[in-house]
C-alpha cells in the first residue's frame, strides 16, 4: 500500500480487523482517505483493490455509489446546500444564488479560482433550521440571502488575504 502515507496506513490497518468481515471496512477507509487527502485519488482505489484482493471495478463501484465521496480534487471549502422541499420553501434558492454570485465575483476580482464550491444536496436532516448547509463538516442553519454573505465571505476572504 505504498500509495498511502504511513499515518494513514496505521488508520487503515485499524479498520481491517474491526468488523466481522474485512470488506466492511471499505466505507470507513474511504472516509479516512478523504479526510486525510481531501479526496479519494484513482491510485487510492487501485491500492485498496490490491489490499482487499478485489477487482478494481468493485472498489470503484462502491466509491461512486455514495455521493459523499469526492473522486475529484475538491476546492478547499465545499458548500453542500440542501435544495430539498423544506429548504426550498424557506429560501434555499435565493441563498444559493447569492453564493454562486459571490464565487463568480471572487474569481472576477482576484483572477484566482474560488476556494469555495457550491453543490445542491438532498435533505440534510435539519429541516427545523431550514435553509441548511454544510461547509466541509460544519453545519449552518437558517442560511438566507441576508446572512449568507457574512458566512461565505469568511472562506473567500481567507483565500484572498
Amino acid at each position: 500500500m505504498s500509495v498511502f502515507s504511513e499515518s494513514i496506513v496505521t488508520k487503515i490497518n485499524g479498520y481491517l480487523g474491526r468488523y466481522e468481515t474485512k470488506r466492511s471496512s471499505i466505507l470507513p477507509i474511504l472516509h479516512e482517505l478523504q479526510d486525510e487527502y481531501g479526496w479519494i485519488k484513482p491510485e487510492h482505489l487501485k491500492g485498496l483493490s490490491e489490499e482487499f484482493g478485489l477487482p478494481e471495478v468493485q472498489v470503484n463501484e462502491v466509491a461512486t455509489f455514495y455521493s459523499m465521496y469526492r473522486l475529484e480534487e475538491p476546492k478547499k471549502y465545499r458548500v453542500l446546500f440542501c435544495d430539498n422541499i423544506v429548504c426550498h420553501m424557506m429560501g434555499a434558492d435565493s441563498a444559493m444564488a447569492k453564493i454562486r454570485h459571490m464565487i463568480e465575483d471572487f474569481e472576477k476580482k482576484t483572477g484566482k479560482p474560488s476556494p469555495v464550491s457550491l453543490q445542491g444536496v438532498p435533505c440534510l436532516g435539519v429541516c427545523d433550521g431550514a435553509p441548511a448547509m454544510l461547509v466541509n463538516k460544519d453545519r449552518f442553519l437558517k442560511v438566507t440571502e441576508h446572512n449568507v454573505q457574512e458566512i461565505v465571505s469568511r472562506y473567500l476572504d481567507e483565500a484572498s488575504a
Binding site: 470507513p28 455521493s67 459523499m68 422541499i85 438532498p122 436532516g125 429541516c127
Partner: protein, 423 residues
C-alpha cells in the same frame, strides 16, 4: 383500557435537562435500570412485552417491532442487531434529536433488543452528514463500555454485547433495511429481494434485526413501565408516542413528541404556533417526501396515526410533517421531489431507474417551459406503472407523491405549462 392522547414524555424525557447526553445524567434519571431488569428476564418474555406494547417501527413502514424480533430463529448462532440511524427521508429530523438529547437511551434500548433476539454484536448505522451526532454516539458507546453496560458479562450475567458505529456516505437508499445491510457489508447500498427477510438472513447472511432509532430508544420505557402502560397511550391500533417533525413556514418548527392519534390542527396551530405571518396553508406532506400531499380540506379533523392518515390516501411515514404555503409553486415542489428520487434510485430495477428519470425529465420540461399539457397526464401514467414492480419500495415512494400532485394540483401544473411560468 382507556387510550389517552395526553402528552407523555418518553423519548424527550431529557428535554431541558443539562448535560443530557452524559452517562451520569442518564443514570441519575434511572438510566440502564431497564437493561438491568431485562437481563433478569427470559428473552422470549421480553419479545412478548414488546409485542404486547403495540409499538410499530418508527422508520416509516410501521411494522410491529415485537413481531419483527420474533422472526429471528431461536437456535444458537451469530446474530446481529442494527440500528437504522440513516435518517434521510426529506423532512425528517427526529432520530437526530434522539442523538442530541439522549444517545444512552438508544444504546440501552439496543442492548435490551440484542439480548431479546440473541445478538452478540450491534451496529448503529448513521448518515455521515450527522458529523456532530456521530461524535456524540461514539462518546456514549465508549462511556457505556467503561461502565460495563456493553462488553463482556453485562451486570454480571452471561450476556455479552459488542457495539460499534458505522457511517453511511450519502445514499438515501441505505435507509431501506436490506440496502443498509449491503452497505454495512462494504458494498453498494443496493436492496435485496425479500424473502429471505433480514431476521433470517441479514448482515453476512446471518439473522439480523434492523430497527429504527426511535423504535429502539422507546424500548427502555416499555420495559420499565410495561406493555399496558405503553398501549394506553395513543390509539387502539397505533400505540405509544411518536416524534413528529414539523417544518416549513410555521412559527415553531421542530420535533414534538406526541401520542399517536394527536390532532394535526393542534400540532400545527398550538404546538408549532401556526403559520408564519403572511403565509397561508396550501397543503401538507404528512410523512416525508414519499407521502402523498394532503389538501387543507383533508387536513381538517385529521388525527396523526397510521390508520387515519392512510384513510386519507397518504401515510404517517417517518412523522415528517411538511407544511406547504401558498407562496410555494407545486411545479417546483414536484420537480424537487422528482429530482430527489431520480438521484437516489439505486438503479437495479428498470421501473424505478427509468421511471424516476422520465418523471424528472418531464418536470424539467415543464419548469423550463417546453412541455405540453398532456405531459401532466403522462406523469400519472408513468407513476402508475412504477408501483409494486421492484425489489424495494423506492419506486412506489416516487410514484405515490407524483400521482397525488397530478391529481390534486393538475390544474396548477397545466396553468404553468400554458404560461410557461408560475402564475
Amino acid at each position: 383500557m382507556g387510550n389517552t392522547t395526553d402528552k407523555v414524555k418518553i423519548l424527550t424525557a431529557f428535554e431541558g435537562i443539562a448535560n443530557s447526553r452524559a452517562l451520569a445524567t442518564y443514570q441519575n434519571h434511572g438510566g440502564y435500570e431497564a437493561l438491568k431488569k431485562a437481563l433478569t428476564m427470559a428473552p422470549g418474555d421480553l419479545i412478548e412485552i414488546v409485542k404486547n406494547s403495540g409499538i410499530r417501527g418508527r422508520g416509516g413502514a410501521g411494522f410491529p417491532a415485537g413481531l419483527k424480533w420474533s422472526f429471528v430463529p431461536k437456535a444458537e448462532g451469530q446474530k446481529f442487531l442494527v440500528c437504522n440511524n440513516d435518517e434521510g427521508e426529506p423532512g425528517t429530523f427526529k432520530d437526530r434529536y434522539i442523538c442530541e438529547l439522549s444517545p444512552h437511551m438508544l444504546i440501552e434500548g439496543m442492548a435490551i433488543a440484542a439480548y431479546a433476539i440473541g445478538a452478540q454484536k450491534a451496529y448503529i448505522y448513521t448518515r455521515c452528514e450527522f458529523y456532530e451526532e456521530i461524535a456524540w454516539l461514539e462518546t456514549a458507546i465508549k462511556e457505556a463500555y467503561s461502565a460495563g453496560f456493553l462488553g463482556k458479562n453485562i451486570f454480571g450475567t452471561a450476556f455479552s454485547l459488542e457495539m460499534d458505529h458505522y457511517s453511511g456516505s450519502g445514499a438515501y437508499i441505505c435507509g431501506e433495511e436490506t440496502g443498509l445491510l449491503s452497505s454495512l457489508e462494504g458494498k453498494k447500498g443496493q436492496p435485496k429481494l425479500k424473502p429471505p427477510f433480514p431476521a433470517v438472513s441479514g448482515y453476512l447472511g446471518k439473522p439480523t434485526v434492523v430497527n429504527n432509532t426511535e423504535t429502539l430508544a422507546s424500548v427502555p420505557w416499555i420495559i420499565n413501565n410495561g406493555a399496558d402502560a405503553y398501549r394506553a397511550i395513543g390509539t387502539e391500533k397505533a400505540a405509544g408516542t411518536k416524534l413528529f417533525c414539523i417544518s416549513g413556514p410555521v412559527q415553531r418548527p421542530g420535533v414534538y413528541e406526541l401520542p399517536l392519534g394527536y390532532s394535526f390542527e393542534k400540532l400545527l396551530y398550538e404546538d408549532a404556533g401556526g403559520m408564519l405571518p403572511g403565509h397561508t396553508l396550501k397543503a401538507c406532506i404528512p410523512g416525508g417526501a414519499s407521502a402523498p400531499v394532503l389538501l387543507p380540506d383533508e387536513l381538517k379533523g385529521l388525527t396523526l396515526d397510521y390508520e387515519s392518515i392512510a384513510a386519507k390516501g397518504s401515510m404517517l411515514g417517518s412523522g415528517a410533517v411538511m407544511i406547504i404555503d401558498t407562496n410555494t409553486s407545486m411545479v417546483r415542489l414536484m420537480e424537487i421531489i422528482a429530482n430527489f428520487f431520480h438521484h437516489e434510485s439505486c438503479g437495479q430495477c428498470t421501473p424505478c431507474r427509468e421511471g424516476t428519470g422520465w418523471i424528472a425529465n418531464i418536470m424539467h420540461e415543464i419548469v423550463s417551459g417546453h412541455a405540453k399539457e398532456e405531459d401532466v397526464d403522462r406523469l400519472a401514467v408513468i407513476a402508475k406503472n412504477m408501483g409494486g414492480k421492484t425489489i424495494c419500495a423506492l419506486s412506489d415512494a416516487a410514484a405515490m407523491p407524483t400521482m397525488a400532485i397530478v391529481q390534486k394540483f393538475g390544474d396548477e401544473l397545466k396553468a404553468y405549462i400554458r404560461k410557461g411560468k408560475a402564475s
